[in-house]
Symmetry: C2
Subunit: 381 residues, 2 copies
């Protein structure tokens, strides 16, 4: 790898401020020559044509060290693709998009973050809950109920901290002590909307506030669309609780569909304009109708193994990634504690802890006072 | 054909009372030997094994002449497959069902009817609107609004005269002077439910009350399921406005699906038990979500010609039956009155009048003070 760790971090941060948002040609250059060499090329304007425009305005500004200091003062950090908490497998969908078609579909260069959660662990089992800013009392209630249920079962609620449904979803997760991630279209140092200053502080206290924009960057219209792709990227699925006919939630649903994530929508009274967008998405096959947390888990759950039918098959055949590794680390008979599973699998304990409930949900593992065990080994037949 | 017209009518009526409901083996026997010979075979018990059971209890009762008198006194009639108003093309779906699998899926022997409408004309463009007997205020309102809109546009509302959604749909059609057909699970001389005596009288005054059961037969559980197949049969589609998880409306939807008719359901608040069945049907792909009359017409409309794309194609290529004949009877340039179209096509005027609005809906024909014309001939390009 080019440069040392500090040098690479400064290069990521410099480039993040230069392009301010997704930039597929820059991601391609970094993949090809490394981040330090890419930063040098941008600084010296030795660039392929596609990168000259996007870097021209700010390539002479290098406030990387200052940006890192600003974030440290805020108790925040930058997360680069080289960091352990980078949710690499979540980004695979973006990585596979045809960025010629989806111009804003690139993997973010870095993510700026405030809050105690590991982004990787928080997004391991997560649902995006989004919807109308002009929500009805019905929508706020339903968003709150479903988000409460999901957060209470260990699902992270990802949303955009907007008025209406977004705020209801974040608040519900906070209320039950669950995990929640707010993805902003501006720097994480800026409360947006301003009225949600306290909400964002509360999220940063126990969850995560993240953004691909460096500190100080203001919210602008095109940034909301790019932000929506990150909301869709960080969840196992996108749930729309209320949406008018021109709601931004439909944009998030489109990202979910491009990324291969299930899109879901909650119906409502047919006379309600706040539900009209949900009804249209269901009617046009863009989203599945769901009415409660169980439906969302059915759609978005990482494991949909039909347990009854798997008696003769290898139950782990459907698993991949950390789930497969944790399952493999469990003995056929007997129990293990999460730290033992971490040692055995080489994964960190947070990841093991994040994966186990998903395996439990799929009825593959159970848990008692001795630790976690494979359910197949305990059952007769 | 065996026997004269009166003799055959008496044979149909006799057999209708003997089997009281759908009886596929009897329909097969009639198709094979004619109705008079079938009636003789039943009377004399010279029957294939499959018909002995279903005819044993009542084959010795021949009250056909009396039944016809009873109906005449009620201002009603029996409609046999030999009558002009028999909706033969509606019955094609039932005729093609595998009656070994769908035991109650047979074409009815006859239909008993009260009311001034021709069953054939009334069912030419019709939607079944059904739902929960324990409807909510929301459900009654939505059923009323959609049925009003549909009836006001010339669609016949078919339903079952039950409490709740059924009654709301019938009443809405009556309120706008539209056509409505109530299909009963008992004789048309019996008001069922008794509290709907006045509603049924109002329907019989301007619409139709029909049943496959002879006068005097009481409503029994299995008859509601067979009745539901007729409700599905008589419409271009089935719309469920509200349904609990165990609603009979789901049975009507199943018939619609077997018959190849679109099934539709209206969503509602997710907390409402009256909408839970609708949500399940939408979620499981058994019914399409609709929110208003336009959606229903989109789904159930007999013609879904994409007008803009048909400039180079023969617009009549998608038509069949009476629609194709009426369209063919219209000149490329100039207008015709319905009676001229009837002469030209050999169809009766009522059929022509029933078909024209469907063609108009598909933007194939228009109407002005000179009569009806093809729209293609009037448009530039």
């Amino acid at each position: 790898m080019d440069g040392d760790a500090d040098e690479r971090r400064l290069a990521w941060v410099y480039l993040s401020r230069v392009v301010q948002g997704p930039c597929a040609p820059l991601s391609a250059l970094i993949a090809s020559v490394g981040v330090c060499e890419a930063a040098r090329a941008v600084r010296e304007h030795e660039l392929p044509q596609a990168l000259r425009g996007p870097t021209a305005a700010r390539r002479e500004i290098d406030s990387a060290a200052e940006d890192l200091e600003t974030m440290a003062r805020l108790g925040g950090r930058v997360i680069t693709p080289e960091d352990d908490e980078w949710p690499g497998w979540r980004m695979l969908g973006l990585d596979q998009l045809d960025t010629d078609r989806d111009r804003d579909g690139a993997v973010p260069l870095v993510l700026w973050a405030r809050g105690p959660l590991s982004l990787q662990a928080a997004s391991e089992r997560a649902v995006a809950v989004v919807g109308s800013r002009c929500s009805s009392g019905y929508g706020v209630q339903v968003a709150g109920e479903i988000a409460c249920d999901l957060a209470g079962r260990g699902w992270t609620i990802v949303s955009g901290a907007a008025f209406g449904i977004d705020a209801a979803a974040h608040r519900a997760a906070l209320a039950v002590g669950g995990s929640t991630v707010a993805v902003l279209a501006c720097g994480v140092d800026r409360p947006y909307p301003a009225q949600h200053d306290r909400l964002l502080t509360a999220i940063a206290d126990t969850g995560l506030v993240v953004s691909e924009y460096p500190p100080g960057v203001t919210a602008q219209k095109h940034r909301f669309l790019a932000r929506n792709r990150l909301i869709a990227t960080l969840g196992d699925g996108v749930l729309v609780v209320e949406a008018g006919m021109r709601s931004g939630a439909r944009n998030t649903v489109k990202w979910a569909r491009r990324l291969g994530r299930p899109a879901m929508a909650v119906p409502g009274p047919v006379g309600s304009v706040s539900s009209a967008g949900c009804h249209r998405m269901i009617r046009e096959g863009e989203a599945h109708l769901v009415t409660r947390a169980e439906d969302v888990i059915d759609e978005a759950g990482p494991l949909r193994l039909p347990v009854a039918e798997s008696a003769d098959a290898d139950p782990a055949a459907h698993l991949h990634g950390a789930e497969a590794e944790v399952y493999a680390a469990l003995p056929a008979i007997g129990s293990r504690l999460p730290r033992e599973l971490a040692q055995q699998s080489g994964l960190d304990v947070a990841t093991v802890r994040a994966v186990l409930p998903a395996l439990e949900l799929a009825a593959l593992v159970g848990c008692d006072s001795d630790g976690w065990f494979r359910t197949r080994g305990r059952r007769p037949g």
